[in-house]
Amino acid sequence: MLQLNNIEVIYSDVVLVLKGLSLEVPKGKIVALLGSNGAGKSTTLKAISGLLKPEDGEVTDGDVLWNGQSIKHLDAADVVRKGIFQVMEGRRVFKHLTVEENLRAGNYTSGGNWYAEELPRVFSYFPRLKDRFGQTAGYLSGGEQQMLAISRALMARPEMIMLDEPSLGLAPLLVEDIFRNIKRINSERGTTILLVEQNARLAMEVADYVYIMESGRVVLSGSPAQLNANADVREFYLGLNEVGKRKSYREVKHYKRRKRWLS
């Protein structure tokens, strides 16, 4: 179980990005974190995974608790060893390495211990990777790269996977496939999932609980059913008006702007 208690994150000693954010990810659940561009979703994940340091960011207040222990001062490498694995935004496969080498890199913390055991499982989720096994990862399609990025996480056998916008730039059919597999990973392996998304509709379909953040704070949270019933959420995040029709993009933008200004 992961708990963020009122965390504050500052980049380069001056840019305050998270302003007292709290959330909870219970063991074995899928929790979605939604919000518009620049809300601080990726920053939240990096605050957990220890990847803020290379970007000159720091958790300056509050605490990050993992199974009751504070992990806010840990290096990224130690966080992975504690069982938390972040799949970064934009896939970030090792372009010049083959698919196989990428998977072995994901397996790094285990020293190759369960590589042979995990490989068939990875292929059971993403069979396409089997055909691409020896290929240079940089030449895979965007969807295949996302599959590889998630598989790399599986190779580390983490207790929790944090996914940063896995739907980014992918065709709708592929996105559905990826989300189905996220659900499967969660139910078959019991892996806890913290899912950051812009695609609110899909995220709400798979999540057990949803947080919505705006400019560095959580502004709303609840089960997908509760949030679905919330008129604001329907307006701002699902792009539906009261009758359930899609609103025009301009109206949504207008609403978002007003909402920002209010918070």
Partner: protein, 293 residues
């Protein structure tokens, strides 16, 4: 014809040694973006370490040389941890100046300990001539080629198959993503400097054995490392090998066939370097950026 074969074999032998030094340079550059101007001095350090083990301590070569290699690797790690680690995040030009400083320091320390005159190297590598395709060639050069090949083979397996080796390539590819897999960047840097110290020590020992002496001037080979790595493309390991061979052969042929008073053997690599860079600005094997979104 005999002359040609002799020149070719000396060219390959010195090319292989150059390639070893260049390999360390490329590894450090790939894993930490540091341009190490002390790479030639590493070679010199390696040569002196072997000298100490054989001439002073009096060990047989098959024990003394491995110890010298390990000590050189340790010196590489010590320089990384003691000096360069503190330069993380500093401007690239400051980091370069620090490596220049390290090179001067190493020379000064070795000069203090061993004096400035070259020392005769213990005669532990056989150097009687053997017959290769009808030409008489020193067996020491053949051994230099053989040992370099073995080391390259071992390193290739390390980078392709071992999990540490793959981690190093992952860091070179995308540092932050590598960190997100739990790969420790600090460890990778230390390993890169250790390998750089090690390959330079092997190169320095082979070079000193062929020349028959070790002196501060063997660090000059550090200058030739630049055409080698730039030719191969700063960040390519096969490039370092091919670059080393090309430069070694060029020097050897230029020295053997062109009038010696022109001193062209030193200049030839740079001339070819400029010509190749005109055609291939990233070097022969430089990373072509894979762009796919």
């Amino acid at each position: 014809m005999e002359n040609f074969i002799q020149l070719t074999i000396s060219g390959i032998a010195s090319g292989a040694i150059l390639a070893l030094v260049a390999l360390g340079f490329v590894l450090i550059f790939k894993s930490s973006d540091v341009i190490n101007f002390a790479q030639g001095e590493f070679l010199m350090v390696g040569g002196y370490m072997t000298y100490v083990m054989l001439a002073w301590v009096g060990l047989p070569w098959f024990i003394g040389v491995p110890i010298a290699i390990l000590l050189s690797a340790a010196i590489g790690v010590a320089i990384e941890q003691g000096i360069l680690r503190h330069m993380i995040g500093e401007p690239i030009i400051s980091v370069i100046m620090v490596t220049v400083g390290v090179s001067i320091l190493l020379r000064a320390i070795l000069g203090l300990i061993f004096g400035n005159a070259p020392l005769a190297f213990p005669d532990f590598v056989p150097n009687y001539p053997v017959n290769v395709l009808g030409a008489r060639v020193g067996v020491d050069k053949l051994l230099a080629i053989l040992f370099s090949l073995l080391l390259f083979g071992a390193l290739t397996i390390f980078f392709r198959r071992s999990s540490e080796g793959i981690a190093m390539r992952a860091v070179a590819d995308d540092q932050q993503a590598a960190m997100s897999m739990g790969i420790s960047i600090k460890k990778v840097w230390a390993v890169a400097w250790a390998i750089a110290g090690m390959t330079a020590a092997v190169g320095g020992t082979l070079l000193a054995a062929i020349i028959g002496g070790v002196g501060l001037d063997i660090a000059h080979i550090g200058l030739i490392v630049f055409p080698v790595v730039i030719l191969g493309g700063l960040d390519s390991i096969p490039g370092a090998v091919v670059g080393g061979l090309v430069v070694g052969l060029l020097q050897s042929y230029a020295g053997g066939y062109l009038p010696p008073q022109l001193g062209l053997s030193e200049v030839a690599p740079f001339v070819v370097l400029v010509l190749i860079l005109l055609v291939k600005p990233y070097g022969l094997f430089g990373t072509t950026r894979i762009e796919r979104v």
